[in-house]
C-alpha cells in the first residue's frame, strides 16, 4: 500500500516537472520603471510582443520610483547572478558601471538599428566597443509654467533666473492674497538623491559653474559661479519654494503642480500629458519651456533617459535580446511618445505627425533635447554613484542650512580629489 503511494507521488512529480519542460514557452522578465504611465506602457508593449510571439511570455517587474533605490535592487540581482530578470531598464548614467553584467547587443542584431538613434546616447551605451544597452527614451529637464497665471499677472515666460524669481514671487503673493494659502512659486526635486544632482547641475551649469567634473577629468566644482548658484537655490527654500522642497522628488513635485498649487515646476517630459487628463486642476493651462539661464547666458537641461540592457545571466538570451530590440524599435517608441510623452531616441520620430500632435514641444524644444548636458558619468566611471552622492549630499546640506555653500563645496572638492585622484581645473562653459 505504502509503496504504491510513494510510486504514485513520484510519478505525479515527474509529470509535473516534464510538463513544464515540454511546454516550451520561454518566459522572460523585464524590470521597468513605474513613474507616471511607465508601468502601464511597458505592459502594453509587452502584450504587443506576446501577440507577435505566442511562444513567449513576458513578465513586467515593477521597480522603485527613485533611481537610487532601483539601482540597489538591480545590484542585488546582478551580485547573485540571478536569471530572474532578463531585461533591465537602466539609467543613462549606469552603462559604464554595470557593463560587465550585460550582453553585447551587437551580437544580437542591433548593428542595423543603432544608426536611427541619437548618436550621443549610442556612444554613451557603448563600453569598450560593446553595445551594452539599447537607447529607449531620452529625457531633459524642462520648465513647466502656468500660462493662465502668467497672463493674469502680466508676465512673460522668464528667460533668466533673476526674472524667474521675481515672476514666481509675484504670482505666489498674488495667489495667496486671492485665498490659496498653499500656493508656491516653484516646485522642483530637492530631496537627497540622484534627482537633486540633475536639478543642481542645471542651475550650476547655466550659471557658468561647470559640470562638477569636466569631460577631460578635472575637478571643477569649487568656483564662485557654482557657489553663487547653490546659494540662489537655497534662498528659494521657504521663499518661492515650499520648505519641504528638500524632500520632494519627481512624483511629489508633480502632485503639488497638478493640484494647481505651483506656478512653475521643473520636471522631465513625462509629466506633460499627465496634467491634461480629465479632472486635473491645470488641464490646458500650462506649457513647457527651457529652464531659465544664469550668468552664462544659456539655459541648461540635464540629460536623462533610460535604456534597455540584457542580462548575461538570462536563461533565454536570444529571446530577451529580441524583446529588448523590439521595445527600443520604432513601433514601441512611437506608442510611448504618443501616449506618455516619452522622448523617442529615434531621430525620425521627431518628424512624425502623430507624435508632434500629442507633444508639440518635441518639435519646438528639439534643440533642448539634443543639447542636454550630461552628468559626469563617463569622466568618473566607475565611481559616478559615489561622486553623485557626495555632490547631492553637499548641496542638500546647504539647502537645509546645515552648512554654508562655500564650506560644503570646499569639502566636496577635497572629497572628490580623494575619491578620483584627478586634478583641479576650470569649469567648461556652455
Amino acid at each position: 500500500m505504502r509503496k504504491s503511494l510513494v510510486l504514485a507521488l513520484l510519478l505525479s512529480m515527474i509529470l509535473v516537472v516534464s510538463g513544464s519542460v515540454f511546454a516550451e514557452k520561454a518566459e522572460i522578465t523585464i524590470a521597468g520603471g513605474s513613474v507616471g504611465q511607465e508601468l502601464e506602457l511597458t505592459k502594453e508593449a509587452a502584450q504587443m510582443y506576446m501577440e507577435e510571439h505566442p511562444d513567449v511570455k513576458v513578465n513586467v517587474l515593477d521597480t522603485p520610483d527613485l533611481a537610487t533605490d532601483r539601482l540597489g535592487l538591480y545590484l542585488q540581482f546582478l551580485e547573485a547572478e540571478s536569471p530572474k530578470v532578463d531585461v533591465y531598464q537602466v539609467d543613462v548614467i549606469w552603462p559604464g558601471d554595470l557593463a560587465e553584467h550585460f550582453l553585447d547587443l551587437y551580437n544580437y542584431g542591433a548593428k542595423d538599428m543603432v544608426d536611427d538613434h541619437f548618436q550621443a546616447i549610442v556612444e554613451n551605451n557603448t563600453v569598450d566597443g560593446r553595445l551594452v544597452a539599447m537607447p529607449w527614451f531620452t529625457d531633459a529637464g524642462l520648465l513647466y509654467y502656468r500660462q493662465d497665471l502668467l497672463d493674469k499677472y502680466g508676465y512673460d515666460v522668464p528667460q533668466t533666473w533673476q526674472e524667474f524669481e521675481r515672476t514666481a514671487k509675484a504670482i505666489q503673493e498674488g495667489e495667496r492674497a486671492a485665498g490659496n494659502q498653499d500656493f508656491y512659486g516653484y516646485v522642483w526635486q530637492g530631496d537627497a538623491y540622484e534627482g537633486l544632482t540633475c536639478n543642481a547641475l542645471e542651475f550650476i551649469y547655466s550659471n557658468g559653474g561647470g559640470t562638477i567634473v569636466s569631460p577631460d577629468k578635472k575637478i571643477t566644482i569649487n568656483n564662485e559661479k557654482a557657489i553663487e548658484a547653490i546659494d540662489m537655490a537655497s534662498d528659494w527654500v521657504g521663499y518661492i519654494s515650499p520648505p519641504g522642497v528638500t524632500g520632494l522628488a519627481e512624483e511629489s513635485a508633480r502632485k503639488i503642480w497638478e493640484a494647481g498649487n505651483a506656478a512653475f515646476m521643473r520636471n522631465w517630459p513625462y509629466a506633460y500629458p499627465l496634467g491634461n487628463v480629465e479632472g486635473s486642476a491645470i488641464k490646458g493651462k500650462y506649457d513647457v519651456a527651457p529652464l531659465p539661464a544664469g550668468d552664462s547666458g544659456k539655459s541648461a537641461a540635464t540629460l536623462g533617459g533610460w535604456n534597455l540592457a540584457v542580462s548575461k545571466y538570462s536563461e533565454h538570451p536570444e529571446v530577451a535580446a529580441d524583446f529588448a530590440l523590439f521595445m527600443a524599435g520604432p513601433k514601441v517608441q512611437k506608442l510611448r511618445a504618443v501616449k506618455g510623452s516619452f522622448n523617442p531616441t529615434i531621430k525620425s520620430l521627431y518628424q512624425d505627425e502623430e507624435v508632434l500632435e500629442a507633444s508639440p514641444f518635441f518639435g519646438s524644444l528639439y534643440e533642448v533635447f539634443t543639447n542636454a548636458v550630461a552628468r559626469p558619468s563617463t569622466a568618473t566611471a566607475p565611481r559616478y554613484n559615489e561622486v553623485s552622492r557626495l555632490f547631492f549630499q553637499a548641496v542638500h546640506s546647504v539647502l537645509t542650512d546645515e552648512m554654508e555653500a562655500r564650506t560644503a563645496i570646499e569639502y566636496l572638492e577635497l572629497d572628490l580629489v580623494d575619491l578620483l585622484g584627478y586634478e583641479i581645473g576650470e569649469p567648461r562653459q556652455p
Binding site: P243, G247, N385, R389
Partner: protein
C-alpha cells in the same frame, strides 16, 4: 561493563546526536558571520567580478578614526583682539582650516567649548559616527516610551471589563502592519504642506503655519521617527508585559487588600517586582531590535540621515563598498553584543532564583 564506560558511551552518543544541530549552526550562523568578518578586511566591491585584496584593518580605521583639535581664535587685524561675530559670539577659525587633510581627510562631527577655548571633533567618516549616535538616541527614547505606554496599556487590558478580548486584538493592529507600509503611511501624514495630517492638526491648534518639514528639518527627524516606532511597537511591548501580568496570582492582591495596601502600594510592591523578569525579556528584545533599525530610516530618511543599518545598506548598495559595509556589519554586531551582555548582567535575567 563499568559504570564509567557506560557514561562515556552515553556522552559519545550525545555528541553524535548533536552533530546535525552543529552542522546547521555552522551553515547558517558561523559560516556567514565568518565570511562577513573576512570580507571586512578586504576592499571587495559589490556586484563585480574584480579581484579583492586584503587590506587589514584599513576599513575599521576609516570608520572609527577621530581626532580633537583646538580652533584658534580669529584675530581682528585692527584691534589685535579676537573678532566678534554678528551674533555677538567670538569668532573662531573654521574647522576645515584646522583639521588634518593628509594622509586622510578629517571632517567635523561637532564643536564644543571648554573654558573659552573652542574645540572641534573630527572624523574620517562622520556619517558613520553620527549614524551610531542616531541609532542610540533612537533606541533609548523609543524603547523608553514603548515600555512606559506598553505597561499602561497592558495594565488596562489586564483588568476586567466588557469587550476585553476584542480590545486585546485591536491593540495589536499597528504591530501587524508591515513596517514599510506603515512607514509610507506616516510619510504621507508627515507631508510638509497642509495636505499632511500633522501639519493640518498643528495649524488648527495654532502651532506653526502648516509648513513643518518633519523629515528634512534636522531637529524634527529623530522625534518623528521615534513617534512612528512607538506607535508601531508599543503593542508588542504591551503583549509581552501582559503575559507577565497574567503570571501574577490574584491571591497576592487579595492578601494585600486585606492588609490595607492601596492600589499604588500594590503596584510598586507586587506588580512591578513580579513583572521584572518579563519586563527584562521585553526590554532586551526591543533594545536589540531597535539597534538594528533599518526599514523606517530607509523609507523615511533615505540618505538624509542614517541609522547604523541603513548606513550599512547604502555603503553596500550605493557605494558598492562591500568590504567597508562588512566592517560596519561587524561593528553593529559588536555594539549589539555589548548591549546584550550589559542588559543580561544588569537585569539578572540568567541568574537562577
Amino acid at each position: 561493563m563499568s559504570s564509567g564506560n557506560l557514561a562515556r558511551e552515553e556522552q559519545k552518543l550525545a555528541y553524535k546526536l548533536l552533530i546535525p544541530a552543529f552542522l546547521i549552526l555552522i551553515t547558517i550562523a558561523v559560516y556567514p558571520l565568518g565570511q562577513v568578518f573576512y570580507t571586512s578586511f578586504t576592499d571587495k566591491t559589490f556586484a563585480t567580478g574584480r579581484e579583492a585584496s586584503f587590506i587589514g584593518l584599513e576599513n575599521y580605521k576609516t570608520l572609527l578614526s577621530v581626532t580633537i583639535k583646538e580652533l584658534p581664535p580669529v584675530v581682528d587685524e585692527n584691534t589685535g583682539e579676537q573678532k566678534i561675530g554678528e551674533d555677538g559670539q567670538p569668532v573662531f577659525e573654521r574647522p576645515i582650516r584646522v583639521l588634518p587633510r593628509r594622509p586622510e581627510l578629517y571632517r567635523p562631527v561637532f564643536e564644543f567649548s571648554f573654558f573659552s577655548n573652542r574645540f572641534v571633533v573630527g572624523a574620517i567618516n562622520p556619517d558613520f559616527l553620527t549614524a551610531v549616535w542616531n541609532t542610540i538616541i533612537f533606541t533609548v527614547f523609543s524603547v523608553f516610551f514603548e515600555t512606559l505606554i506598553g505597561l499602561g496599556i497592558a495594565l488596562v487590558v489586564n483588568s476586567e471589563f466588557k469587550g476585553r478580548g476584542a480590545m486585546r486584538a485591536v491593540m495589536l493592529v499597528p504591530w501587524a502592519v508591515i513596517t514599510v507600509v506603515s512607514a509610507r503611511m506616516w510619510e504621507w501624514m508627515f507631508e510638509p504642506t497642509r495636505t499632511g495630517f500633522f501639519n493640518m492638526i498643528f495649524e488648527r491648534m495654532g502651532v506653526g503655519d502648516g509648513n513643518f518639514s518633519f523629515l528634512t528639518t534636522t531637529e524634527l527627524q529623530l522625534p518623528s521617527l521615534i513617534a512612528v516606532d512607538v506607535w508601531k511597537t508599543t503593542p508588542f511591548m504591551a503583549l509581552l508585559i501582559l503575559a507577565g501580568l497574567q503570571l501574577i496570582p490574584n491571591e497576592l492582591y487579595e492578601a494585600a487588600r486585606v492588609d490595607g495596601a492601596n492600589k499604588v502600594k500594590q503596584f510598586f510592591s507586587i506588580t512591578l517586582p513580579l513583572l521584572k523578569p518579563s519586563l527584562a525579556v521585553a526590554l532586551v528584545f526591543r533594545t536589540l531590535d531597535a539597534l538594528r533599525v533599518f526599514d523606517i530610516f530607509q523609507v523615511l530618511l533615505s540618505q538624509k540621515r542614517y541609522s547604523m543599518a541603513s548606513y550599512n545598506y547604502f555603503q553596500l548598495i550605493q557605494a558598492r563598498k562591500m568590504g567597508l559595509a562588512s566592517a560596519v556589519g561587524v561593528i553593529i554586531f559588536i555594539v549589539i553584543f555589548i548591549f546584550a551582555v550589559t542588559y543580561i548582567k544588569m537585569l539578572g535575567v540568567d541568574t537562577d532564583e
